[in-house]
Homo-oligomer: 242 residues x 2
């Protein structure tokens, strides 16, 4: 069923898509591809890349500094775009590495831009999706700039949970999480050692347990309160554009 593709579900939350728009959207889904964990899809500085939509698995977008430090900007979960910004800017400002083995569908820029002129509402929907991604990056920025390590970790685990819940991969009880403590460190701007200490602290406080590839919310409300988690920036409440 085409209507169940992650992209359709995502864009449909903003724009009520007509049959003809759906079929244009469907025609975008080109080749299905798979990539193995750890081998980069896109490298910082490359141009003329394709964009992808993540069908299964997790990926990470990151930037490397010259001195070898790494900052992970965001993780992508099923339904998310990979490399959309890279194609629009023509040159990628970041690298993308699969965290697990992943399946994606490839989209060519020309097709995407062509689709915009046939069905302008699609352009609006994509612009909305991009804004939503940007809001997530902004919240991440605030976390790193102004929250201490424990709050930052708590907020991050909650946000990831909320995103996964939207695509049916998590709940307020917890979720399966393939990230290592090293990946958490690079995402949160901490050292791996400190990530470990903070996780222990949150676990001993009875709020979350991160262990063996799964996140368990031991006390969701207390955790949300501790992290000042305000998920309004990721709300989806029905198509805004009829």
């Amino acid at each position: 069923m085409i209507e169940n593709s992650p992209l359709v579900r995502k864009l449909g939350a903003f724009v009520a898509l007509s049959d003809s728009e759906l079929s244009v959207l469907t025609s975008l889904h080109k080749r299905r591809r798979t990539f193995v964990a750890g081998r980069d899809l896109v490298l910082q500085g490359q141009s003329d890349q394709a964009a992808y939509i993540l069908a299964s698995g997790w990926a990470s977008s990151y930037k490397l500094l010259e001195d070898g430090q790494r900052q992970i900007v965001d993780f992508q979960i099923p339904g998310d775009f990979l490399g959309l910004r890279s194609v629009l800017l023509n040159v990628s400002d970041h690298s993308i590495e699969p965290v697990t083995d992943i399946e994606v569908t490839e989209i060519h820029v020309d097709d995407l831009l062509g689709a915009f002129s046939q069905t302008p509402r699609l352009a609006t929907a994509v612009l909305w999706a991009a804004s939503r991604d940007e809001a997530m990056v902004v919240e991440h920025l605030v976390s790193i700039g102004r929250r201490d390590a424990a709050e930052r970790m708590a907020h991050f685990l909650l946000e990831l949970g909320a995103r996964l819940a939207l695509v049916g991969l998590g709940s307020k009880d917890g979720y399966a999480c393939p990230l290592t403590q090293y990946l958490l460190a690079d995402a949160l701007g901490l050292s791996a050692v400190h990530v470990n200490r903070v996780l222990r602290q949150l676990r001993e406080a009875g709020m979350v347990t991160f262990r063996d590839g799964s996140v368990v919310f031991d006390d969701y409300d207390q955790l949300a309160n501790f992290a000042q988690f305000e998920p309004s920036y990721m709300d989806q409440r029905g198509p805004l554009l009829q």
Copy 2:
């Protein structure tokens, strides 16, 4: 001259605009408004806002935490959008405060989305502009996550200089800068006291002087090298879409 409006110049860098597209774009420019420094235009959580294009002056976008801490996400300079994300998401995830007295032109969402259906290439251009803004936020995130205070400050002053140079308000010699050390602190995730110390350090190293409302690059190359400043993510090299 309409062709000289900051928005037209900005979008024209990505999409070669036809006369009819230009006239649609022009029709978007509604009421001209002014706001005084320090009084917020948009507050976190508000909905049904208008978007604006900044014509003169500087503004800041920030988020407040419940405990009163503030993180400035970005500063806007002439030609930049204000609150575009807020209208697309329908509810603002951040507040906007003018740093100086500012002049803006108001744009109504309905008009903007309507314009997309008449001239889809405009939608592509706006999507491109949004991607460029996002790339800036991402670079800011990397700075806060992985650079120490001095590198962060150096990188920030260089990026601002490059942005100002694009709209004719700065050069490699320096630029007029209305920011206070408190604003810098909230933008860089530092304390105001430490901002002061870092500025002194950079000044005494002969790289930049931040003083009396102006930034002077005493040794641009040394500073760029010190900050690992790689401005490729903000390059503009001619219309990509003919």
